[in-house]
């Protein structure tokens, strides 16, 4: 009888330790998940900011100004342009 009790006690202690460990692991993983979620959010915000920046640098008025002013580009004469494509076939 006493032997069985001792055995059960040992099992109980093992289970308790197991529970504590798994709980601890769970919490660790959870905080990691939380960190990653935060990072995802930060990255999304950063992405938005970069989109904003890309749009601002790529403003058509700015592109046009630089193309026409600094680079001296101009719209080609339509007569020198040949359109190719499925529809035109020319």
């Amino acid at each position: 009888m006493a032997k069985l009790n001792l055995l059960l006690l040992a099992v109980l202690v093992a289970c308790a330790l197991g529970l504590v460990t798994s709980q601890h692991k769970g919490r660790k993983l959870f905080s990691e998940l939380e960190r990653e979620r935060d990072r995802a959010r930060e990255l999304d915000i950063e992405y938005g900011r970069l989109q904003l920046e890309a749009s601002t640098w790529g403003l058509h008025s700015r592109v046009e100004r630089i193309a026409a002013g600094t680079l001296g580009l101009r719209t080609p004469d339509p007569r020198t342009v040949r359109l190719v494509g499925r529809e035109s076939g020319r």
Binding site: G26, R27, F30, S31, E34, D44, I45, G48, R49, Q51, L52, A54, S55, T56, G58, L59, H60, S61, E64, P78, R79, L83, G85, E87, S88, R90
Partner: protein
Amino acid sequence: MTGAVGAAAQGLVRLPVWRARFVLAALLAGFSALVLRALYLQAVKTDFLQEKGDARYSRLLEVPATRGRVFDRNGEALAVSTPVKSIWAIPQDVALKPAQKRKLAALLGITTSELDKKLADPSRDFVYLKRQLPPDTAEAVIELGLPGIYDQREFRRYYPAGEVTAHLIGFTGVDDTGQEGVELAHQDSLGGRAGSRRVIKDRLGRIVEDVESIRAAQDGKDLTLAIDSKIQNVAYNALKGAVAANRAKAGAIIALDVRTGEVLALANVPSFNPNNRTRLSGAQLRNRVITDLFEPGSTLKPFTIALALESGKVTPHTTIPTAPGRLTIGKYTIRDVHPASTLTVAQVIQKSSNVGAARIALSMPREAMWDFFHAVGFGSVPQLGFPGAAAGKLRPYHTWKPVEQATMSYGHGISLSLIQLARAYTVFATDGELVPLTLVKSDAVATGERVVSPQTARAVRAMLESAVQPGGTGPRARIMGWRVAGKTGTAHKQENGGYAAQKYIASFVGLAPVSSPRVVIAVMIDEPAPPHYYGGEVAAPVFSQVMQGALRLLGVPHDAPLEPLEPPSGAEAAGEST
């Protein structure tokens, strides 16, 4: 006695029975007190205690939702929310030394007296000192470590295209909800819903466990609009240039893709910068394309002619007597700028003859005219889902007097928005179908509603093409390489119930390429300064510029020889009185 002596000898003392009972009773009383207390705590006060317990480690977290972004058809960002910080204070807790005050005011970009004013009322326990600061400035403020001053994360909306797309996109208020334009129209899908959840935090403030999600946060959905920001830019700049060159009060332009019914560009002048709305006037905010009404003038004549052709009363070659360039109905006289004795139906459009249009209109029942105007969308709100879209004024036909029926044939006595006018022209661009419009990108070919027969639509399109040839009213609308068709309009402005003598609205509506129309553009210039106020002089060049840009950007094949256009022979031909 021996018993007692025996017991005493063994060290035993017989105690009185009551003592044992007393101890038992005392223990019983003690236990029942405990049981009652436990019952009281477990059953009666459990909620309160549970709450107190939770408050030690569980926290309710707000989960912020971001507002959806707005893109143009090519994925270029037109509106993006990005986090900023607001600085707030509890006035009672704030104690500032003069040096600290100066430093804080400088960081916040306000004067010290303004700061004092904000902190003056100690009864308030929440005062915004400055909203929407860049995150690094806000951090610098918090790093000062002043008591009673805190920061709070918020979102601010940025519009990279600024004034170019201002009227279409609209803007959001300081709390990131839509107030105008698309931002307001699509508030439900763009605006996210902040959620909240309960978590357990440890001593260091780290989240260790998710207890429950009370409400899941829902980020706003991104929105892709139909507009092409390149065409939009061309349109805005051309319009701005024309309004400045003609010293006009305002202008508006809209470009439509005929196949899909998408709005490719929509611009207004004067405009405003949606990123900085500190000084806004009503005139800047007005969306003249969608929410403002005007009398269209001659740009409405093609509809009168289309109805006449459709009813079989005339053919393009039927001659209409227009001598002597005047038509008197009751006490009103309708005049032509270029009096002619007779004109064919096609020439009525080409020369923009009011008398001709009026005579044709008077030969038809007013009910048919009303039906047709109604069928092309005049007098009913366009289904755009845009806030404040105007329906226009098309009075019931039984109230029309003959003179009104005559003037309506050339666009007076009826008012509509520029978008209604542009949409109605899709009838001539699609061989007779009225195309439903959309501000949101759609790849599907729009299914129109048939309004006139293909023959009629093509005949009117041919007349519209002749109107932009030399000899018509709008030769300045032509583009090298593409065939263009369109109609000019020069309407007297309505003022105080009558027509102002020297105030005009110049307009032009047209389509291209004629062989297989792809784009419809409508331009309206409000009060161009004389001497140049005709639609053919003021609005047609804008149309030409924007149409050329749009066709080039859309890669539409040429359908006309690439030869330089002969310049129009003076301003003479552009003349028209409506």
